[in-house]
């Protein structure tokens, strides 16, 4: 599992870690019974306070996304389903925040997202590969 944290993200770090685990489930890089990195591994890897990692894993355990096997570590729960809704809401919240910062309302944003998606499809470019300045 790859975890990327964004220091400029307003969300507390433990929430970012939780979201990264949910994202890994949605994209399929984590599946039921897969091990998560140990608290120590992830803490050292990200140079992050181990308590923050423990807090994230603890919350995920309470939500039934992961479980602890004594002496073996933390694993994805057999019943954990990719929560596309939760991941999608996160994307939406970030997009809305950015839109408001730029003085756009929800309707404008949704319309423009559809337009841009259609343009990218027409140009048969992979998402995100379009020239960012090309918005005519």
């Amino acid at each position: 599992m790859l975890v990327n944290l964004d220091p400029n993200d307003a969300r507390p770090l433990y929430l970012q870690i939780m979201d990264e685990v949910r994202r890994a489930l949605v994209v399929g890089s984590l599946r039921a019974e897969d091990p998560l990195p140990s608290v120590r591994e992830l803490a050292a890897d990200l140079a992050i306070n181990p308590r923050t990692v423990s807090q994230a894993y603890g919350e995920l355990e309470r939500e039934g996304v992961v479980y602890v096997r004594r002496g073996q570590g933390t694993f994805v729960a057999p019943g954990a389903r990719p929560d596309r809704g939760a991941v999608g809401r996160g994307v939406a919240r970030r997009a809305l925040l950015e839109a408001r910062r730029n003085g756009l309302d929800v309707e404008e944003l949704v319309t423009i997202i559809r337009e841009v998606a259609a343009e990218e499809e027409n140009a048969s470019l992979p998402a995100g590969a379009a020239n960012p300045g090309d918005d005519q």
């Binding site: 944290l5 220091p7 400029n8 120590r40 890897d45 306070n49 308590r51």
Partner: protein
């Protein structure tokens, strides 16, 4: 009278009314530090704000002019040796003394002092930091010295680490590795860390408590969460000729056209309400990184 032995449940560091002057210079002007056990406490402040003096008082290398300092309930002065036995210290200055000894000899020397010295761990740390055991202390570069000091501070797994600019002089690769080793260390050794640094951002993901020193006074001391909650950047549209409500506890502001931006300290809901009541349209309230939030307490106070 504070006890001479570590007290269970006592804070890792507690000072009361700590004063220290050097001639005419005031280094500490009545400081009450409180570092809970298990905290990673980052001490922020300009040069000369009193950070190094604080460490020296806790190490009993300096006597305070007034006030008390305790380490796990033990008086840092009267209980000096017992307090120091609890501490791993990376000092501000780089020189290790014993210039004729090699790094390996210095580590064995340190090992003899600490019953809890973990030789295998010292070797692991030394390897991870690229320390060369045969090098003589007197010939070490600034960065090599720092690495040696870090190994000496951490290898006896003390309950308290006092790190005065621990990454000073380290190259970016070793700096990152040092922070990773510190995170690793915290994962398997119950440790309280007090760290002063000019690179506050590098403690962004490790620190959970913050203290801000300004000219010898502790102007802020709080858990990281509270800092993130109460220090925020507000952006608001304002009508022409708008004047701010009086007494806004602001730190910094900038203006672009009819938009104003402040860094404010206080309850976000209350501050937003006050700005709105004064006719400003609050468009954005954003949290700040550790460094920006801490710096809010060091900005010059000017009126809106």
């Amino acid at each position: 009278m504070s006890p001479l032995h570590p007290e269970p449940g006592a804070p890792a560091v507690a000072t009361r009314g700590l004063h220290k002057r050097y001639g005419r210079e005031t280094a500490l002007a009545g400081v009450d530090f409180l570092v809970p056990e298990g905290a990673v406490y980052v001490l922020v402040g300009a040069n000369g704000a009193g950070k190094s003096t604080t460490f020296k008082v806790l190490m009993n290398l300096e006597r305070p002019d007034a006030g008390t300092a305790e380490v796990f309930g033990v008086d840092a002065g009267r209980g000096g040796p017992r307090a120091r036995a609890q501490i791993g210290y990376v000092p501000e200055h780089h020189g290790p003394g014993y210039r004729w000894m090699t790094c390996g000899q210095l580590l064995r020397h340190a090992a003899a002092y600490y019953p809890s010295w973990d030789a295998a761990y010292a070797e692991h740390l030394g390897r991870a930091l690229g320390l060369k055991p045969h090098r003589r202390a007197g010939t070490l570069s600034k960065g090599e010295n720092r690495r040696l000091q870090l190994v000496m501070a951490m290898a006896h797994r003390p309950p308290l680490l006092l790190l005065d600019e621990p990454t000073d002089g380290l190259d970016p690769v070793i700096r990152r590795r040092t922070l990773a080793l510190l995170a690793d260390h915290l994962a398997d050794t119950p440790t309280t860390v007090v760290v002063s640094t000019h690179h506050v951002t590098e403690m962004e993901t490790l620190a959970d408590h913050v203290g801000v020193l300004r000219e010898g006074r502790l102007v802020a001391q709080m858990p990281r969460d509270e800092l993130q909650r109460t220090v925020r950047r507000y952006r608001a549209g304002v009508p022409d000729g708008w004047t701010a409500p009086p007494g806004l506890p602001q730190a910094r502001r900038s203006r672009a056209g009819r938009e104003l931006q402040w860094t404010l300290v206080g309850e976000p809901a209350e501050l937003t309400a006050r700005l709105t009541a004064a006719g400003a349209e609050v468009r954005e309230v954003t949290t700040l990184g550790l460094e920006d939030a801490a710096l809010a307490f060091l900005a010059e106070e000017d009126t809106v």
